[in-house]
Symmetry: C2
Subunit: 333 residues, 2 copies
Amino acid sequence: MLTPGRLREAIQQRMLEALPRPEAAPRPELAEYARLLRDYPERGGKMLRGSLLCYTGLAYGAPLERLLPVAAALELFQNWALIHDDIEDASDERRGKPALHKLYGMPLALNAGDALHARMWSLLVEAEAPRGVLLEFARLVERTAEGQHLEMTWVERQRLDLTEADYLEMCGQKAAYYTAVAPLRLGALAALAEPPAAFEEAGMKLGLGFQIVDDVLNLAGEREKYGKEIAGDLWEGKRTLILLRFLRQAVPEERSRAEALLRLPRERKPAAEVDWLHRRILESGAVEHARRVAEGMLGEGLEALRPVLAELPEPQAAAGVLELLERLVRREA
Amino acid sequence: MLTPGRLREAIQQRMLEALPRPEAAPRPELAEYARLLRDYPERGGKMLRGSLLCYTGLAYGAPLERLLPVAAALELFQNWALIHDDIEDASDERRGKPALHKLYGMPLALNAGDALHARMWSLLVEAEAPRGVLLEFARLVERTAEGQHLEMTWVERQRLDLTEADYLEMCGQKAAYYTAVAPLRLGALAALAEPPAAFEEAGMKLGLGFQIVDDVLNLAGEREKYGKEIAGDLWEGKRTLILLRFLRQAVPEERSRAEALLRLPRERKPAAEVDWLHRRILESGAVEHARRVAEGMLGEGLEALRPVLAELPEPQAAAGVLELLERLVRREA
């Protein structure tokens, strides 16, 4: 079986093969177009979702050649969604470099995201992916868009009356589904198997755990490993589990001060106030709370998954699924 | 056979059936999400591309039930592309109402466009559209994105060294392909027939003619019929056939004055200067030139199409294709 490093390379290579090459462009403007499309995909990334998909499909006994285009398409999804996300959130950085719209302006970046979205589909159709795989891609894009809508309206409408359950619902749609549920299900579907219900339940917990770890790293991670601006979620006013916990437990004066800051748009937030909120959150124990919730979910997700994986025909690949997921618990980036 | 009016209604109904309903949403925020997705589709529109697709498929003998979902998906393409276009171009209006990002802000509108893009694909996959249809959709989205990239870089890089041939190349990608080539080809493909080469050649001329008429209406149309701001293309600095013709024939002082204006971003263009350029273009004969070019192309396209259509098994539907295309020549909106 492929090592995780080799698998990551194989997925990235398959993804890049599906994109236009600047040297083949008929006009200089279209060479630039090709560079825009390749920019985020060439920045690398962990290929975590694609790898999870491949190990799952291999565990079902599918050949890697049938899984690679589906995994590459899933990574293309991640790339176009990040381009559009960065525009929507006015993010400055991605994977340690300027966001695409910072390099080329919003209109060209938005359009490049649409082109990558279409490439995702053509990669799947050209590889003759089964109908179940195509339907799952439609589902994962729509779930992600719904979650993204929830998160963005909460910020725009200055909603602060949210519970941890609201956060978990939003995050389930926006991140957990495409991060863990969809890769597990797609691995089965690409192997022409019916995905078990446990993939959805366990995947949801694993995906939530993964996203909460991401929220933790955003506030308490190391800048160089994380690759995005630290405390970017506070600048953007994201309603994370950490923030909601902090607000619920803060004394009234601190809660009012934090809420006043969160009501300001990014460009009007005073840096000193963001630093204050960042420091107070780190001191409050809200980060540790989130870390515990994440570890609990990752643990429960793994427990629920183990018996299902144990029944699959290829135990070595099934072990690869678990190893990959276990690394999530300990990740720093 | 269905009248054009009934066909338009049937396509729109099929399109709206594929979209989420606000009253079925599990949370108020998601009811709003459904309203965003339905906003442009409910504004109506001519369903021109979907109708062309249906008449073509009917001419091949395909049943309408097999064509309607493909036509509805093509109209969904139009809708999500317009949402993103309006963001990219900072347009104020669409079909006589404020653009979606003016109503809900850019981030939510961008995300709604992505969701509609995904719905387009799920509609096709759920209807079990043949593989050729799916590949053609990927192709039409990618062609449109390339053309959009060309047009936007010309404005951003302040390119004024462009010829009519450059315009026709850009416009072929950005508009003509999805407006005429793709509907003709999709009609055949949905009927499980191989589209003849004439569809690509004739469709390109018809689509170019259609887009040039659109450029003409943008400068010389009636505001109420047109549904967008008149002279919006000048505000946006679009490099249209009309503008390029005007610049090439203008006396040096007028050319310099126009170029200085075109180098300014939209928000820094003085209204009086835009009015001046608008008036000078209308006086210069460049609009009539474009009208003649468009009529020539529409005529040539129809001529090339006629013998191919005459060989199809259903002459009444084939006549419907021609009637629809002939109305394009005389349209005012």
